[in-house]
Symmetry: C2
Subunit: 206 residues, 2 copies
């Protein structure tokens, strides 16, 4: 565990701003953003291995069978998932890895990586969330209602997360997430090498 | 739990600098420092209720029997302990309470306050600890050896704490402790009121 990176799961309601927080973190700090695998076709300008790992359905299903994905889900006919190997490699090298995933995926990550740090991004209130979705003006009324409905179901996941990040001011939220990750490195579970050194030094001293 | 203060236990090796960290925290931030009860006689200038609560042995033993102390111990013929009521009052008012206590006491606090935040202050290495104790020049060689011996026994407690605070530079250590306490308020267990509000708003919305 010592000198391992922290695996950070960032989830939250649609419209809570987790994507923006993620971008700011990556821009400022040496966090490693996990690249998802998907079966959807690349859009113009998207680069394989940077935006996504683009795979065929056959390949993706083989990856599922071989246990090569930490979590995966199917949306609108396409698979999306988190490749395990890249995440484990970065963690072993001491890099903190950020995953922006849905809550069901977050729960699966926690099962496989019990030390994962689960952060739930939310506006200060449900009313704020509704206002933000309406205010964006980019979705139809039906789509907004669908998202609000989904958010009200997702509230049930909040207490399964470790921390709530209240995204009222973006700058504060970015600092909060960064601070929580930095503090995590001081957790005893990340300091086992240090404790071991103390034991050895004290023994040599006898 | 919501809007409750955080109960912070600060322990560490003799010579690790926990007292200095404590003083800096109190000076800069609105933390509440718990005042210990004791049966030792007040020294000149010590004020009852500020430095200690000074009690007779009889009174102290009644407090033990009545469960009025979170933890207590006897050193060199005198009792020392942490009064429960004052701590609970401050926590209920939302104030973070700092306790500077021995590790055995820390374990007792954790039993009674499972959400207590246990911080272990240590120099970067055991050799550093020895150097500091020798360098102070205020203790006899026997006393230094006694403290080193005790520290080597106390290593066993490190992994029962939540975080290790490596006090290499005082300023960094003070900031680390402050940051960890601040992050703690974002923990889901301190945000139950907020989650409850979300549930209510979502229900009213149906």
């Amino acid at each position: 565990m010592s000198n391992q990176g922290v695996l950070v799961v960032l989830s939250g309601f649609s419209g809570a701003g987790k994507g923006t927080i993620m971008k700011e973190l990556i821009k400022r700090y040496p966090y490693f953003l996990s690249v998802s695998a998907t079966t959807r076709k690349p859009r113009e300008g998207e680069i394989n291995g940077k935006d996504y790992f683009f795979h065929s359905r056959e390949k993706f299903e083989t990856m599922i069978e071989q246990g090569e994905l930490i979590e995966w889900a199917e949306y609108v006919g396409n698979y999306y998932g988190t490749p395990k190997q890249a995440v484990e490699k970065q963690l072993a090298e001491g890099k903190d890895v950020l995953l922006e995933i849905e809550m069901q995926g977050g729960m699966l990550v926690k099962e496989q990586f019990p030390n994962a740090l689960l952060l739930f991004v939310t506006p200060p209130s449900f009313t704020d969330l509704e206002q933000r979705l309406i205010g964006r003006g980019t979705e139809s009324k039906d789509e907004i209602n669908r998202r609000i409905q989904r958010a009200s179901e997702e509230i049930a996941y909040m207490s399964s997360y470790d921390y709530l990040i209240i995204n009222d001011e973006l700058e504060q939220a970015v600092q909060d997430v960064h601070q929580i990750i930095q503090s995590e490195h001081m957790r005893v579970s990340y300091q086992t090498d240090m404790i071991h050194n103390f034991e050895q030094e004290a023994n040599n001293n006898k």
